[in-house]
Amino acid sequence: MRNLVAASRRASSLVGKRWIEARDQAVKLIRQGYPLIAIVGRAGCGKTHLMLNLYDELKEYVRVYVDTTFLEDRLLGTIMSSIATSHTVTNLVRAAKCPRGDATCKRLRDLLASGIQNLADYAERWPTSFLRDLMHLTRLRNYRGLIIFLDEGAISSDDPQIQQFVRSLHAFRNLTAEIENLHVVFSILPDVIEYIAKVDAPLVDVIRTAMIILPDYVDVEDIQELAKAYPAKQECLQRLIENYEMLPPLTVRQAICLLQECENPTICGVEEAEVRIE
Protein backbone atom coordinates (compact mmCIF):
# COMPACT_ATOMS: atom_id res chain seq x y z
CA MET A 1 0.00 0.00 0.00
CA ARG A 2 1.51 3.28 -1.07
CA ASN A 3 0.91 7.03 -0.63
CA LEU A 4 -1.23 6.85 2.48
CA VAL A 5 0.99 9.25 4.40
CA ALA A 6 1.73 12.77 3.16
CA ALA A 7 5.26 13.26 1.85
CA SER A 8 7.13 16.35 0.76
CA ARG A 9 8.02 14.81 -2.63
CA ARG A 10 4.32 14.87 -3.59
CA ALA A 11 3.62 18.22 -1.96
CA SER A 12 3.55 20.25 -5.15
CA SER A 13 0.40 18.53 -6.40
CA LEU A 14 -2.85 19.25 -4.67
CA VAL A 15 -6.11 17.83 -5.95
CA GLY A 16 -9.72 18.55 -5.14
CA LYS A 17 -11.44 21.86 -5.73
CA ARG A 18 -12.20 22.41 -2.07
CA TRP A 19 -8.63 21.59 -1.01
CA ILE A 20 -7.26 24.05 -3.56
CA GLU A 21 -9.65 26.68 -2.22
CA ALA A 22 -8.43 25.93 1.31
CA ARG A 23 -4.82 26.35 0.15
CA ASP A 24 -5.62 29.65 -1.55
CA GLN A 25 -7.39 30.87 1.55
CA ALA A 26 -4.38 29.96 3.72
CA VAL A 27 -2.00 31.76 1.34
CA LYS A 28 -4.25 34.81 1.43
CA LEU A 29 -4.41 34.81 5.24
CA ILE A 30 -0.61 34.58 5.51
CA ARG A 31 -0.04 37.34 2.98
CA GLN A 32 -2.61 39.51 4.76
CA GLY A 33 -0.50 39.13 7.91
CA TYR A 34 -2.56 36.74 10.06
CA PRO A 35 -0.10 35.34 12.61
CA LEU A 36 -1.73 32.05 13.68
CA ILE A 37 -3.32 29.86 11.03
CA ALA A 38 -4.96 26.60 12.01
CA ILE A 39 -5.55 23.79 9.53
CA VAL A 40 -8.32 21.75 11.09
CA GLY A 41 -9.63 18.37 9.99
CA ARG A 42 -10.16 14.80 11.01
CA ALA A 43 -7.43 12.21 10.59
CA GLY A 44 -6.63 11.53 6.95
CA CYS A 45 -8.35 14.57 5.49
CA GLY A 46 -5.14 16.10 4.06
CA LYS A 47 -3.86 18.50 6.72
CA THR A 48 -0.20 17.52 6.46
CA HIS A 49 -0.33 17.45 2.68
CA LEU A 50 -1.82 20.94 2.63
CA MET A 51 0.89 22.20 4.99
CA LEU A 52 3.61 20.72 2.79
CA ASN A 53 1.94 22.25 -0.25
CA LEU A 54 1.93 25.65 1.47
CA TYR A 55 5.58 25.17 2.34
CA ASP A 56 6.26 24.61 -1.34
CA GLU A 57 4.18 27.57 -2.43
CA LEU A 58 5.33 30.39 -0.16
CA LYS A 59 8.90 30.75 -1.37
CA GLU A 60 9.13 34.44 -0.52
CA TYR A 61 9.18 33.46 3.17
CA VAL A 62 11.71 31.59 5.28
CA ARG A 63 9.81 28.37 6.00
CA VAL A 64 10.52 25.82 8.68
CA TYR A 65 8.53 22.60 8.93
CA VAL A 66 8.49 20.87 12.30
CA ASP A 67 7.03 17.40 12.68
CA THR A 68 6.57 17.46 16.42
CA THR A 69 6.20 13.68 16.68
CA PHE A 70 10.00 13.57 16.46
CA LEU A 71 10.38 15.82 19.50
CA GLU A 72 10.74 14.59 23.06
CA ASP A 73 8.21 17.11 24.32
CA ARG A 74 6.14 20.02 23.05
CA LEU A 75 7.78 22.80 25.08
CA LEU A 76 8.53 26.04 23.27
CA GLY A 77 12.28 25.59 23.90
CA THR A 78 12.29 22.12 22.36
CA ILE A 79 10.38 23.32 19.30
CA MET A 80 12.76 26.26 18.85
CA SER A 81 15.76 23.97 19.31
CA SER A 82 14.44 21.77 16.52
CA ILE A 83 13.96 24.85 14.33
CA ALA A 84 17.54 25.94 15.08
CA THR A 85 18.94 22.65 13.80
CA SER A 86 16.80 22.56 10.65
CA HIS A 87 18.46 22.81 7.26
CA THR A 88 16.57 26.00 6.52
CA VAL A 89 17.88 27.84 9.57
CA THR A 90 21.44 26.52 9.47
CA ASN A 91 21.65 27.46 5.77
CA LEU A 92 20.20 30.88 6.51
CA VAL A 93 22.73 31.52 9.27
CA ARG A 94 25.66 30.14 7.28
CA ALA A 95 24.87 32.25 4.24
CA ALA A 96 24.27 35.46 6.18
CA LYS A 97 26.61 38.30 5.30
CA CYS A 98 26.65 40.20 8.54
CA PRO A 99 26.96 43.98 8.17
CA ARG A 100 29.66 45.57 10.29
CA GLY A 101 28.45 46.11 13.85
CA ASP A 102 25.49 43.75 13.49
CA ALA A 103 25.87 41.92 16.79
CA THR A 104 22.76 39.75 16.36
CA CYS A 105 23.86 38.36 13.02
CA LYS A 106 27.35 37.78 14.33
CA ARG A 107 26.08 36.00 17.45
CA LEU A 108 24.16 33.46 15.39
CA ARG A 109 27.10 32.95 13.00
CA ASP A 110 29.50 32.41 15.90
CA LEU A 111 27.16 30.02 17.69
CA LEU A 112 26.75 27.89 14.61
CA ALA A 113 30.47 28.03 13.85
CA SER A 114 31.19 26.71 17.35
CA GLY A 115 28.89 23.72 16.78
CA ILE A 116 25.25 23.21 15.87
CA GLN A 117 24.50 22.03 19.41
CA ASN A 118 25.44 25.46 20.75
CA LEU A 119 22.88 27.09 18.46
CA ALA A 120 20.30 24.48 19.54
CA ASP A 121 21.06 25.11 23.22
CA TYR A 122 20.69 28.84 22.75
CA ALA A 123 17.31 28.33 21.04
CA GLU A 124 16.15 25.98 23.78
CA ARG A 125 17.20 28.17 26.69
CA TRP A 126 16.16 31.50 25.23
CA PRO A 127 13.48 30.68 22.64
CA THR A 128 12.13 34.22 22.46
CA SER A 129 15.55 35.79 21.90
CA PHE A 130 16.42 33.16 19.32
CA LEU A 131 13.18 33.84 17.45
CA ARG A 132 13.86 37.58 17.42
CA ASP A 133 17.39 36.93 16.13
CA LEU A 134 16.01 34.66 13.44
CA MET A 135 13.56 37.32 12.35
CA HIS A 136 16.47 39.75 12.15
CA LEU A 137 18.26 37.43 9.71
CA THR A 138 15.03 36.97 7.75
CA ARG A 139 14.79 40.73 7.21
CA LEU A 140 18.49 40.96 6.46
CA ARG A 141 18.07 38.44 3.62
CA ASN A 142 15.01 40.34 2.32
CA TYR A 143 12.52 37.57 2.95
CA ARG A 144 8.95 38.59 3.50
CA GLY A 145 8.76 36.90 6.89
CA LEU A 146 9.15 33.62 8.73
CA ILE A 147 6.61 30.80 8.70
CA ILE A 148 6.80 27.97 11.21
CA PHE A 149 4.75 24.93 10.17
CA LEU A 150 3.88 22.84 13.23
CA ASP A 151 2.55 19.44 12.37
CA GLU A 152 1.04 16.86 14.74
CA GLY A 153 1.33 19.11 17.80
CA ALA A 154 -0.97 16.75 19.67
CA ILE A 155 -1.95 13.42 18.19
CA SER A 156 -5.23 13.38 20.13
CA SER A 157 -6.95 15.04 23.06
CA ASP A 158 -5.59 12.12 25.15
CA ASP A 159 -1.99 12.91 24.19
CA PRO A 160 -0.11 13.30 27.49
CA GLN A 161 1.80 16.23 25.99
CA ILE A 162 -1.26 18.20 24.95
CA GLN A 163 -0.88 20.71 27.79
CA GLN A 164 2.65 21.53 26.67
CA PHE A 165 1.44 21.97 23.12
CA VAL A 166 -1.32 24.35 24.23
CA ARG A 167 1.18 26.37 26.26
CA SER A 168 3.56 26.59 23.32
CA LEU A 169 0.76 27.67 20.98
CA HIS A 170 -0.26 30.30 23.50
CA ALA A 171 3.35 31.48 23.68
CA PHE A 172 3.46 31.68 19.87
CA ARG A 173 0.24 33.68 19.96
CA ASN A 174 1.88 36.19 22.30
CA LEU A 175 5.12 36.25 20.31
CA THR A 176 3.43 36.85 16.97
CA ALA A 177 1.77 39.89 18.50
CA GLU A 178 5.22 41.34 19.22
CA ILE A 179 7.24 40.07 16.27
CA GLU A 180 6.08 41.33 12.92
CA ASN A 181 5.88 38.98 9.93
CA LEU A 182 6.10 35.85 12.04
CA HIS A 183 3.46 33.27 11.13
CA VAL A 184 2.71 29.94 12.71
CA VAL A 185 0.70 27.47 10.64
CA PHE A 186 -0.35 24.38 12.54
CA SER A 187 -2.42 21.29 11.82
CA ILE A 188 -4.91 20.26 14.42
CA LEU A 189 -7.49 17.52 14.93
CA PRO A 190 -11.10 18.35 15.86
CA ASP A 191 -10.86 16.73 19.29
CA VAL A 192 -7.68 18.68 20.07
CA ILE A 193 -9.18 22.05 19.20
CA GLU A 194 -12.36 21.22 21.13
CA TYR A 195 -10.10 20.40 24.07
CA ILE A 196 -8.26 23.73 23.71
CA ALA A 197 -11.62 25.52 23.63
CA LYS A 198 -12.28 24.11 27.11
CA VAL A 199 -8.88 24.83 28.65
CA ASP A 200 -7.70 27.97 26.85
CA ALA A 201 -10.62 29.96 25.46
CA PRO A 202 -8.54 33.13 24.77
CA LEU A 203 -6.26 31.11 22.50
CA VAL A 204 -9.19 29.69 20.57
CA ASP A 205 -10.61 33.21 20.15
CA VAL A 206 -7.47 34.07 18.19
CA ILE A 207 -7.35 30.76 16.33
CA ARG A 208 -10.93 31.23 15.13
CA THR A 209 -9.92 34.37 13.22
CA ALA A 210 -7.77 32.35 10.82
CA MET A 211 -9.01 28.81 10.91
CA ILE A 212 -9.29 26.64 7.84
CA ILE A 213 -11.54 23.65 8.26
CA LEU A 214 -10.80 21.02 5.63
CA PRO A 215 -13.70 19.09 4.08
CA ASP A 216 -14.81 16.10 6.12
CA TYR A 217 -15.24 13.86 3.11
CA VAL A 218 -14.39 13.53 -0.58
CA ASP A 219 -17.06 13.77 -3.27
CA VAL A 220 -17.19 11.86 -6.57
CA GLU A 221 -15.31 14.60 -8.41
CA ASP A 222 -12.52 14.48 -5.81
CA ILE A 223 -12.30 10.69 -6.16
CA GLN A 224 -11.89 11.02 -9.94
CA GLU A 225 -9.09 13.57 -9.46
CA LEU A 226 -7.40 11.41 -6.83
CA ALA A 227 -7.48 8.47 -9.23
CA LYS A 228 -5.45 10.54 -11.71
CA ALA A 229 -2.92 11.75 -9.14
CA TYR A 230 -2.40 8.53 -7.17
CA PRO A 231 -2.02 4.86 -8.08
CA ALA A 232 -5.51 3.52 -8.73
CA LYS A 233 -7.07 0.38 -10.15
CA GLN A 234 -9.64 1.12 -12.82
CA GLU A 235 -12.11 -1.39 -11.39
CA CYS A 236 -11.72 0.15 -7.93
CA LEU A 237 -12.45 3.61 -9.27
CA GLN A 238 -15.55 2.35 -11.00
CA ARG A 239 -16.74 0.45 -7.94
CA LEU A 240 -16.08 3.43 -5.66
CA ILE A 241 -18.12 5.77 -7.82
CA GLU A 242 -20.97 3.31 -8.26
CA ASN A 243 -21.20 2.61 -4.52
CA TYR A 244 -20.45 6.14 -3.36
CA GLU A 245 -23.85 6.67 -1.71
CA MET A 246 -23.53 3.38 0.18
CA LEU A 247 -20.23 4.35 1.78
CA PRO A 248 -19.58 6.41 4.90
CA PRO A 249 -18.13 9.90 4.32
CA LEU A 250 -14.62 8.99 3.14
CA THR A 251 -11.50 10.90 4.07
CA VAL A 252 -8.85 11.52 1.42
CA ARG A 253 -6.68 8.79 2.91
CA GLN A 254 -9.53 6.27 2.85
CA ALA A 255 -10.34 7.18 -0.75
CA ILE A 256 -6.70 6.77 -1.85
CA CYS A 257 -6.60 3.44 -0.04
CA LEU A 258 -9.86 2.20 -1.57
CA LEU A 259 -8.67 3.16 -5.04
CA GLN A 260 -5.97 0.53 -4.59
CA GLU A 261 -7.64 -1.96 -2.26
CA CYS A 262 -11.35 -2.02 -3.02
CA GLU A 263 -11.52 -5.81 -2.53
CA ASN A 264 -10.50 -5.39 1.07
CA PRO A 265 -12.05 -2.18 2.42
CA THR A 266 -11.42 -3.23 6.04
CA ILE A 267 -7.76 -2.31 5.78
CA CYS A 268 -8.85 1.17 4.69
CA GLY A 269 -10.95 1.54 7.84
CA VAL A 270 -14.20 1.10 5.92
CA GLU A 271 -16.36 -1.85 6.86
CA GLU A 272 -19.61 -2.96 8.38
CA ALA A 273 -20.12 -1.21 11.70
CA GLU A 274 -19.35 -3.24 14.74
CA VAL A 275 -19.94 -1.58 18.06
CA ARG A 276 -18.21 -2.06 21.35
CA ILE A 277 -17.92 0.27 24.32
CA GLU A 278 -14.29 1.08 25.00
Partner: protein, 176 residues
Protein backbone atom coordinates in the same frame (compact mmCIF):
# COMPACT_ATOMS: atom_id res chain seq x y z
CA UNK B 1 -27.58 -1.67 57.57
CA UNK B 2 -24.79 -2.81 55.32
CA UNK B 3 -22.42 -0.31 53.72
CA UNK B 4 -23.25 -1.86 50.34
CA UNK B 5 -26.88 -0.74 50.69
CA UNK B 6 -25.86 2.77 51.65
CA UNK B 7 -23.51 2.77 48.66
CA UNK B 8 -26.39 1.89 46.34
CA UNK B 9 -28.61 4.54 47.92
CA UNK B 10 -25.92 7.18 47.39
CA UNK B 11 -25.46 6.07 43.79
CA UNK B 12 -29.21 6.15 43.16
CA UNK B 13 -29.31 9.66 44.60
CA UNK B 14 -26.43 10.66 42.34
CA UNK B 15 -28.25 9.31 39.27
CA UNK B 16 -31.44 11.15 40.17
CA UNK B 17 -30.22 14.54 41.37
CA UNK B 18 -26.45 14.62 40.88
CA UNK B 19 -24.36 16.80 38.62
CA UNK B 20 -21.63 15.34 36.44
CA UNK B 21 -18.05 16.36 37.17
CA UNK B 22 -15.69 14.44 34.90
CA UNK B 23 -15.44 10.89 36.21
CA UNK B 24 -17.76 11.64 39.14
CA UNK B 25 -21.37 12.53 39.83
CA UNK B 26 -21.75 14.85 42.81
CA UNK B 27 -24.58 15.54 45.25
CA UNK B 28 -24.60 18.31 47.90
CA UNK B 29 -23.62 16.78 51.24
CA UNK B 30 -26.58 18.26 53.15
CA UNK B 31 -29.12 16.77 50.72
CA UNK B 32 -27.40 13.40 50.69
CA UNK B 33 -27.13 13.22 54.49
CA UNK B 34 -30.80 14.12 54.99
CA UNK B 35 -31.80 11.28 52.73
CA UNK B 36 -29.30 8.78 54.16
CA UNK B 37 -30.37 9.42 57.76
CA UNK B 38 -33.69 7.80 56.91
CA UNK B 39 -31.92 4.61 55.87
CA UNK B 40 -28.97 4.31 58.19
CA UNK B 41 -29.20 2.57 61.54
CA UNK B 42 -25.50 2.95 62.35
CA UNK B 43 -23.53 6.22 62.67
CA UNK B 44 -23.41 7.74 59.18
CA UNK B 45 -19.89 9.08 59.59
CA UNK B 46 -18.50 5.58 60.03
CA UNK B 47 -20.35 4.33 56.98
CA UNK B 48 -19.18 7.23 54.83
CA UNK B 49 -15.61 6.75 56.02
CA UNK B 50 -15.81 3.10 55.01
CA UNK B 51 -17.05 4.06 51.53
CA UNK B 52 -14.27 6.64 51.18
CA UNK B 53 -11.70 4.05 52.20
CA UNK B 54 -12.92 1.57 49.59
CA UNK B 55 -12.80 4.38 46.98
CA UNK B 56 -16.52 4.40 46.15
CA UNK B 57 -17.01 8.03 47.12
CA UNK B 58 -14.96 11.13 47.69
CA UNK B 59 -15.85 14.36 49.49
CA UNK B 60 -15.13 17.59 47.62
CA UNK B 61 -15.19 20.96 49.34
CA UNK B 62 -17.11 23.67 47.45
CA UNK B 63 -17.03 27.09 49.10
CA UNK B 64 -18.37 26.62 52.63
CA UNK B 65 -20.19 23.43 51.76
CA UNK B 66 -19.18 20.02 50.57
CA UNK B 67 -20.33 17.49 47.98
CA UNK B 68 -20.34 13.75 48.03
CA UNK B 69 -18.97 12.58 44.68
CA UNK B 70 -19.58 9.10 43.38
CA UNK B 71 -17.27 7.50 40.86
CA UNK B 72 -18.91 6.51 37.55
CA UNK B 73 -18.41 2.75 37.73
CA UNK B 74 -20.28 -0.25 36.41
CA UNK B 75 -22.63 -0.32 39.41
CA UNK B 76 -23.64 3.29 38.79
CA UNK B 77 -24.21 2.58 35.09
CA UNK B 78 -26.35 -0.40 36.05
CA UNK B 79 -28.49 1.74 38.39
CA UNK B 80 -28.79 4.48 35.79
CA UNK B 81 -29.82 2.05 33.08
CA UNK B 82 -32.33 0.39 35.41
CA UNK B 83 -33.95 3.73 36.25
CA UNK B 84 -34.02 5.08 32.72
CA UNK B 85 -34.97 1.81 31.03
CA UNK B 86 -38.41 2.15 32.59
CA UNK B 87 -38.67 5.42 30.67
CA UNK B 88 -38.55 5.44 26.88
CA UNK B 89 -36.40 2.48 26.06
CA UNK B 90 -38.88 1.45 23.39
CA UNK B 91 -38.02 4.45 21.24
CA UNK B 92 -37.91 3.49 17.58
CA UNK B 93 -34.81 4.00 15.45
CA UNK B 94 -36.66 6.64 13.39
CA UNK B 95 -37.55 8.64 16.53
CA UNK B 96 -34.02 8.21 17.82
CA UNK B 97 -32.59 9.49 14.55
CA UNK B 98 -34.76 12.62 14.60
CA UNK B 99 -33.81 13.29 18.22
CA UNK B 100 -30.14 12.53 17.59
CA UNK B 101 -30.05 14.92 14.62
CA UNK B 102 -31.82 17.72 16.46
CA UNK B 103 -29.43 17.40 19.42
CA UNK B 104 -26.44 17.40 17.06
CA UNK B 105 -27.71 20.55 15.38
CA UNK B 106 -28.31 22.21 18.73
CA UNK B 107 -24.93 21.24 20.19
CA UNK B 108 -22.85 22.01 17.10
CA UNK B 109 -23.15 25.75 17.75
CA UNK B 110 -21.21 25.18 20.98
CA UNK B 111 -18.30 23.58 19.14
CA UNK B 112 -15.40 25.05 17.21
CA UNK B 113 -15.38 22.49 14.39
CA UNK B 114 -18.96 21.22 14.23
CA UNK B 115 -17.88 17.87 15.71
CA UNK B 116 -20.02 17.10 18.76
CA UNK B 117 -18.90 14.96 21.70
CA UNK B 118 -20.89 11.69 21.63
CA UNK B 119 -20.66 11.65 25.42
CA UNK B 120 -22.57 14.93 25.61
CA UNK B 121 -25.26 13.65 23.24
CA UNK B 122 -25.55 10.43 25.24
CA UNK B 123 -25.87 12.26 28.56
CA UNK B 124 -28.46 14.60 27.09
CA UNK B 125 -30.50 11.72 25.71
CA UNK B 126 -30.24 9.74 28.92
CA UNK B 127 -31.11 12.64 31.17
CA UNK B 128 -33.94 14.25 29.24
CA UNK B 129 -35.27 11.47 27.03
CA UNK B 130 -34.80 8.34 29.08
CA UNK B 131 -32.60 6.59 26.53
CA UNK B 132 -30.44 3.94 28.15
CA UNK B 133 -26.71 3.72 27.42
CA UNK B 134 -27.12 0.33 25.74
CA UNK B 135 -29.85 1.64 23.47
CA UNK B 136 -27.79 4.72 22.62
CA UNK B 137 -24.79 2.60 21.59
CA UNK B 138 -26.97 0.20 19.62
CA UNK B 139 -28.81 2.93 17.72
CA UNK B 140 -25.74 5.03 16.95
CA UNK B 141 -24.15 1.89 15.52
CA UNK B 142 -27.21 1.18 13.42
CA UNK B 143 -27.28 4.76 12.17
CA UNK B 144 -23.61 4.46 11.26
CA UNK B 145 -24.54 1.41 9.18
CA UNK B 146 -27.82 2.48 7.65
CA UNK B 147 -27.23 6.21 7.17
CA UNK B 148 -23.61 5.83 6.20
CA UNK B 149 -23.45 9.00 4.12
CA UNK B 150 -24.95 11.15 6.83
CA UNK B 151 -22.49 11.23 9.72
CA UNK B 152 -18.75 11.77 9.91
CA UNK B 153 -17.14 10.31 13.00
CA UNK B 154 -13.82 11.31 14.48
CA UNK B 155 -11.47 10.35 17.31
CA UNK B 156 -11.69 11.91 20.76
CA UNK B 157 -14.65 12.78 22.93
CA UNK B 158 -15.63 11.60 26.39
CA UNK B 159 -17.52 8.45 25.36
CA UNK B 160 -16.16 6.19 22.66
CA UNK B 161 -17.71 3.48 20.62
CA UNK B 162 -16.09 1.16 18.16
CA UNK B 163 -17.34 1.55 14.63
CA UNK B 164 -15.61 -0.66 12.14
CA UNK B 165 -12.04 -0.90 13.35
CA UNK B 166 -11.78 2.54 14.93
CA UNK B 167 -12.87 4.04 18.22
CA UNK B 168 -14.79 7.26 17.73
CA UNK B 169 -16.17 9.80 20.15
CA UNK B 170 -17.01 12.81 17.99
CA UNK B 171 -19.76 13.02 15.41
CA UNK B 172 -20.76 15.58 12.82
CA UNK B 173 -23.86 15.77 10.74
CA UNK B 174 -22.41 16.21 7.26
CA UNK B 175 -25.38 15.61 4.97
CA UNK B 176 -29.02 15.89 5.98
Amino acid sequence: MKASVIRRVIKTLAVLIGEEEGMYICVPCSTALKMLEKWADAPLDNMLNDLMREGSITIKRVGRGARICVKKDSELTEIRDFIYRSGRSNMSLEDFEKLFDSILMRLRSRTVTGFVDLGLVKDYMMKFHGVSEDLFVEYVARLAQTRRWKYAFSHGGSFRIKIGNVHVGLVKLVRV
